[in-house]
Amino acid sequence: MIRALVLSGLAVVAPLGAAAHQLVVFASVDCVAVSVEAKFSNGKVTQQGDVRILDGENNLLTTLQLQSDGTAQVPLDSVDHSGGLLIEVDTGSHDNYWIVTPEDIARKCGS
């Protein structure tokens, strides 16, 4: 379902179905890396899961593993981020996403 997402202009499909406790995915960015954070809505840290990084055309760029503290780092120079990035986190039983837009990156890089 996430793959149907269109990055441009944040015109996305409807959010994923809600579970009793949802997975909250967030990514912040600076000029060096994208910092991915995942936790459950009850506050518990997501200790494991796949982190898939897709480009603005919905192409899979790389897959990482969440660290035990619920974070992952994506060096910006390791991915083509010109069209923005879609960050998917999938624990097997829960999944969700965050979109890093080109504007997010530009704002943090001061350009």
């Binding site: 944040l10 996305v12 959010p15 949802q22 909250v24 967030f26 912040s28 936790k39 809505s41 506050g43 969700n96 965050w98 979109i99 997010d104």
Partner: protein, 258 residues
Amino acid sequence: MKRLFLTASLATLMAAAPAIAHYGMIIPNDPMIAQEDGRSVALTMSFSHPFEMDGMMLDTPVSFSVTHEGTTTDLLGSLRDATVMDEQGYTLDYPLERPGTYIFAMEPQPYWEPAEDAFIIHYTKTYVTAYGDDEGWDTELGLKTEIVPLSKPFGLWEHNVFQGIVKMDGEPVPYAEVEVEFFNDGAGATAPDELMITQTVKADAGGVFTYAAPSDGWWGFAALNTADYTLTEAASGQEKAVELGAVIWVHFEEWPGQ
């Protein structure tokens, strides 16, 4: 004689009419900001009779702040002048850098209300959640007087109940009186009786009150108590009572089912 009678009748009518409730207001464009909504929230601050959409002047507040993840940030200098309900108010666009609950709070200057022979200070707040993370929804700010939510103060369906604890100086206020009023912005709601413009509930012995909103939209809850101090009214030089209001604004969502 006739004039005297008319004057007396009007005075009687005015005394019998229910007091119109004043509300400090902090209204965001959306109480639940998703990533698709952008990266900021737009706030509008005012002082009004919200059911009647009757604005009053809101002087530059004493304080205006946001609290997120335990950190409070002063935003007073970021407020922009605006006209709200034909009176002085303020707006603010605030960037939401991280997920979680942001609590915006305002302490206004004391408002002299001759009709009540008292000053009014409404400590006003509203809760905004960002990016699907509701952590912090029950945060107590430690205001002079405050309604601490027992129901999550966003994401409520219409007809749900909202519960909160009325506190003064950090302690529950037994049997506190809470006035409830609908922000009638674009809703066109009418009241068949003036008594129904402002509804009133009382808290229990633990300061807990409950209210079920009859429709979606913004609802203001104002717990009113008299301060243990007075302020000097400039024109008369007399000491006057101070009404302390703990105000929280809560949005109820339209039920989409049949």
